[in-house]
């Protein structure tokens, strides 16, 4: 076979920025800096005089522009004239295929006897049954048992558990795996969650699913490792910078730790958005009865993923929208998604139908409040409990129904009023102007409200009224 003649270089001057790297690459001095500014670019391109060119190709290797110096096509050098770049290089940006959704498979699970496990374990099992095989984490009390269980189980399921160098690294490993379209999660606690917020904002911006189990502990700062509910404001209103929202689920039993973790994965893929599961230190450590579901999930791959295969080659995961109008459009899109999430509002109303005193609480304080409701009922007081299961969106329609006959509202919480703030905001946004004065039973610093304190508040006030 005859040696094919090597092509000489070719250059459209408007794609040359005149860096001059090709000048000293050429041993034949074929290339010089032009003395004319290119009117299209405002830059000074190089000029080629190929009389002495031996087509060594070094100038092309030196050119940093993909469409800069390149091998000439047949006849190109002779017939050069400025052409429409679209026609010159074709209009099709990529031959990558159009991706399609590979759906999840729902597999049956044999019916089993209830387990007796702690909340963090229940959540970890929920994640495994939801199809999560990629867990990243950084040890932090009181959430660590979840990560420990994953570190034990995942290798046996050919899954991945990596203890990251920090919470910052954790959330970004999640960003990668979520970007590949797979379910991923972490267990953390308040200080760790603070560190993850940058990444949460990126995940929301890039529309990535992921489940964050935040077993809240006492703060601010290092605080302590006892239960608190002082991250409600972060989860509902402070997920990093920008216009961010995420569904916030608040379990109150080990069973709900499992059920809501599974739900969190489902919702996180449904909306392409992180979901935050807020527990408290008590709930994470609490052992209780947990019934496993009848089905489990084998995840597929969504069409938007960057899985690293041919089908998903055309995709990009990013939160940059450099042009203002593009970013505004993206925010409008995100807002529409946040609006669509409102249907996910969930709540439990316990004996609220005829309740004159409605207690409002979530997580472990809701259980204490439930005990108080029962005790108050024994004493002939018509008490009920309204328990938001989603804190964002706040289940305001359920709340309105629950407090219809209420003469008193008592918010029971292990924070300085963060749940009450959510309640007030939700009522205000829903246009509810008339509601009883809100009373509170609040403890902080890792102390949970006690049933006796709720009783004192409710009964003490009653005596005053009488």
């Amino acid at each position: 076979m005859a040696l094919k003649e090597r092509p000489k270089p070719f250059l459209l001057p408007e794609y040359c920025k005149g860096c001059g790297r090709c000048l000293d690459a050429c041993a034949k001095d074929c290339i010089t800096l032009s003395d004319q500014i290119n009117p299209l670019t405002g830059l000074v391109p190089v000029a080629l005089d190929l009389a002495n060119c031996n087509a060594c190709g070094l100038c092309m290797d030196a050119c940093p522009e993909p469409y800069g110096l390149r091998p000439a096509h047949e006849g190109e050098i002779q017939d050069f004239e400025l052409e429409d770049p679209a026609k010159l290089f074709g209009v099709k940006p990529s031959d990558a295929p159009e991706p399609v959704d590979i759906p999840n498979e729902v597999l049956p699970l044999p019916r089993t006897e209830p387990l007796v496990i702690k909340g963090t374990y229940a959540s970890a099992l929920g994640a495994l049954l939801a199809g999560c095989r990629h867990v990243y984490g950084y040890p932090i009390t009181p959430s660590t048992e979840g990560a420990e269980l994953m570190a034990k189980f995942l290798p046996k399921l050919d899954g991945t558990f990596i203890q990251a160098v920090s919470e910052v690294a954790t959330v970004n490993m999640m960003y990668g795996t979520a970007g590949a379209g797979l379910p991923t999660m972490t267990f953390t606690s308040s200080p760790g969650f603070s560190l993850m917020l940058e990444g949460v904002s990126y995940m929301i911006g890039a529309e990535l699913p992921g489940v964050f189990v935040n077993v809240m502990r006492g703060g601010p700062g290092l605080g302590n490792i006892a239960p608190e509910q002082a991250d409600i404001k972060l989860a509902c209103h402070g997920l990093g910078h920008g216009n961010t929202r995420a569904l916030v689920l608040a379990p109150s039993t080990p069973q709900e730790m499992l059920d809501l973790t599974m739900l969190a994965f489902e919702l996180s893929f449904k909306y392409r958005n992180p979901v935050i599961l807020l527990g408290d230190g008590y709930l994470g450590q609490m052992t209780g009865k947990v019934q496993l579901p009848e089905t489990m999930v084998k995840p597929g791959i969504p069409k938007w993923a960057v899985y690293g295969d041919a089908m998903h080659r055309k995709n990009v995961i990013t939160s940059i929208f450099l042009t203002e109008s593009d970013l505004e459009a993206h925010n409008v899109h995100l807002n529409a998604k946040y609006e669509a999430m409102q249907v996910e509002a969930r709540a439990e109303s316990f004996l609220c139908d005829d309740a004159e005193v409605v207690l409002i609480a979530c997580n472990t304080p809701a259980r204490t409040a439930k005990g108080a409701v029962q005790e108050l009922r024994h004493q002939g007081i018509k008490a009920g409990l309204f328990r938001p299961i989603t804190l964002w969106p706040f289940p305001v329609e359920d709340l309105k129904a629950a407090i219809q006959g209420a003469q008193r509202l008592v918010v029971v919480e292990a924070s300085a009023g963060q749940l009450e703030d959510e309640l007030r905001l939700a009522l205000s946004k829903a246009g509810v102007r008339e509601f009883p004065e809100i009373e509170s039973v609040r403890r902080m610093g890792g102390v949970l409200p006690q049933q006796s304190e709720i009783m004192t508040r409710v009964l003490g006030r009653k005596e005053v009224l009488a």
Partner: protein
């Protein structure tokens, strides 16, 4: 071929591909990024891995890498590209993942991620563009800025108060994880050939599953060095290279090791790991122990770490659930890992435990004097207090309605040859004192918990029986 096919035919993401931007990069004249892009594109092309590649764009001038590369693209937060790359690599071990980063991204804000990922050693490829300056934010000092070099945040030149420039290739090569580390440059044809080969080799090592590789590219930033492109090339050669010597810093010969099976989604496997079983436990209770409480019994077990209060609490909860009741157990520890306080709140409810805390329990099991002193007075009237009389010499005065059972948990356990079974002695005492569940219910829970340590069952059964006997002895 007019270009490496790994570049898009048109850069639709660059200002929507309008005008010249559809075919021109956003890089300044003389910038090193374009060449690094080109060599990376050629390596991907030549290795035939375009469909498998995931390129991670960093924050910095190369944030828009995804404008150009027709591969799977993802854009990471500042400094986080290597861990995003790991997230992709573990999601799909067949993917070929490149973390492309500048000096601020890799060597400043992302240093922890950079070092930890390199040490982890999973096969990804990191391309590090070191141009000794922050480009995108406008010419601030980089961790790799040279001593004396002016920047907008070191206006009179980098000095000792800014610290010394960071030599990343040497630092990374000093770690155990990486298999291949090389520093290359772009300032002349010879260096460019070496740079191209190094990037190709780094990619190939990943394709072969051999491990983490790191290529540092000394690159030009004429704009922020305020020089023309030609002088910048000279500056890299004459000023940067002496600080950052070129060459291979590490090149290990290793066998391919990164092989990962597809994850398992067999339900039976998960159930078995969780210890879930379809076998119904045998039930012995005739009904809820209403002689203790109508619907909900509150217990507290208190002692020091190592007394076994938590295990005993767990066994009570399991026993209750095996009988079809609801139960909860909340542990509470002091800050010490060993030997601190260890309290457990347990509830057993006929239907549902409403409040799982036990601030005023009906039953207290105290393993030491401080626990008895602290919680004895909280026990409800008519309740039960069972304590370790081996270690508590004198019980505090309690309400006369409370039934008190001093049982030598420790003494019995020691006589049996294993002090650790004192909590099982306590469970026997609980059974005999309160009749909370039939003996077989608690024994069933004990046997289930020891199903992987069957040899210990007889000892525990004996401890349980002695606990019962001691209480029965007290009755006489």
């Amino acid at each position: 071929m007019s270009k490496a096919s790994v570049f898009y035919d048109k850069f639709e993401r660059h200002s929507h591909g309008e005008g010249l931007k559809g075919h021109a990069t956003h890089y300044c004249p003389g910038c090193g990024h374009g060449l690094a892009h080109k060599y990376l594109a050629e390596a991907i092309d030549e290795l035939g891995i375009q469909d498998r590649t995931v390129a991670v764009s960093p924050v910095g001038c190369s944030v828009f890498l995804y404008y150009y590369f027709d591969v799977g693209n993802t854009q990471a937060a500042h400094g986080r590209a290597p861990v995003v790359a790991l997230g992709h690599k573990f999601a799909n071990p067949e993917s070929i993942v490149v973390s492309y980063q500048g000096d601020g991204d890799l060597a400043s804000i992302g240093l922890a991620e950079t070092v930890a990922t390199a040490q982890l050693g999973a096969p990804i490829t990191v391309i590090f563009i070191n141009n000794a300056i922050y480009g995108m934010t406008g010419g601030q000092m980089a961790p790799t800025t040279l001593m004396g070099q002016q920047s907008s945040t070191s206006p009179s030149g980098r000095n000792e108060y800014n610290g010394q420039p960071l030599k990343m290739a040497e630092l990374i090569a000093g770690l155990d994880g990486p298999v291949y580390v090389e520093r290359v440059a772009l300032y002349d044809a010879k260096q460019r050939i070496k740079a191209k080969k190094a990037i190709q080799k780094a990619m190939k090592l990943q394709v072969e599953g051999k491990g983490y590789s790191f290529i540092e590219v000394l690159a030009e930033c004429p704009t922020h060095l305020k020089m023309n492109p030609e002088d910048t090339e000279k500056w890299v050669k004459e000023c940067m290279e002496p600080v950052y010597p070129l060459g291979v810093k590490k090149d290990l010969t290793v066998d391919p090791w990164f092989k990962r099976n597809a994850p398992c989604f067999k339900g039976e496997k998960i159930l078995s790991l969780a210890g879930a079983t379809s076998e119904h436990p045998e039930r012995f209770c005739k009904g809820f122990p209403t002689h203790l409480a109508a619907h909900d019994i509150s217990l507290k077990l208190a002692g020091s770490g190592g007394d076994g209060a938590q295990t005993a609490a767990m066994l009570i909860a399991r026993a209750a659930i095996s009988e079809g009741f609801d139960a909860t157990h909340i542990p509470s520890y002091g800050p010490e890992s060993r030997g601190g306080t260890s309290y457990a709140d347990v509830h057993v409810a006929e239907e549902e435990v409403l409040n799982p805390g036990s601030p005023d329990p009906q039953v207290l099991i105290a393993f030491n004097a401080p626990s008895l002193a602290k919680f004895g007075p909280t026990v409800r009237k008519g309740g039960y207090v069972i304590y370790d009389s081996s270690v508590v010499s004198e019980a505090p005065a309690l309400d006369p309605s409370i039934k008190v059972f001093p049982v030598p948990f420790t003494g019995i356990a020691t006589d049996l040859g294993k002090a650790v079974v004192k909590n099982i002695v306590a469970l026997g005492a609980l059974q005999a004192a309160t009749g909370i569940f039939p003996k077989d219910t608690l024994l069933g829970a004990i046997r289930t918990a020891l199903k992987d340590k069957c040899a210990l069952i007889p000892l525990n059964e004996e401890a349980f029986a002695w606990g019962i006997k001691s209480v029965e002895g007290l009755d006489k």
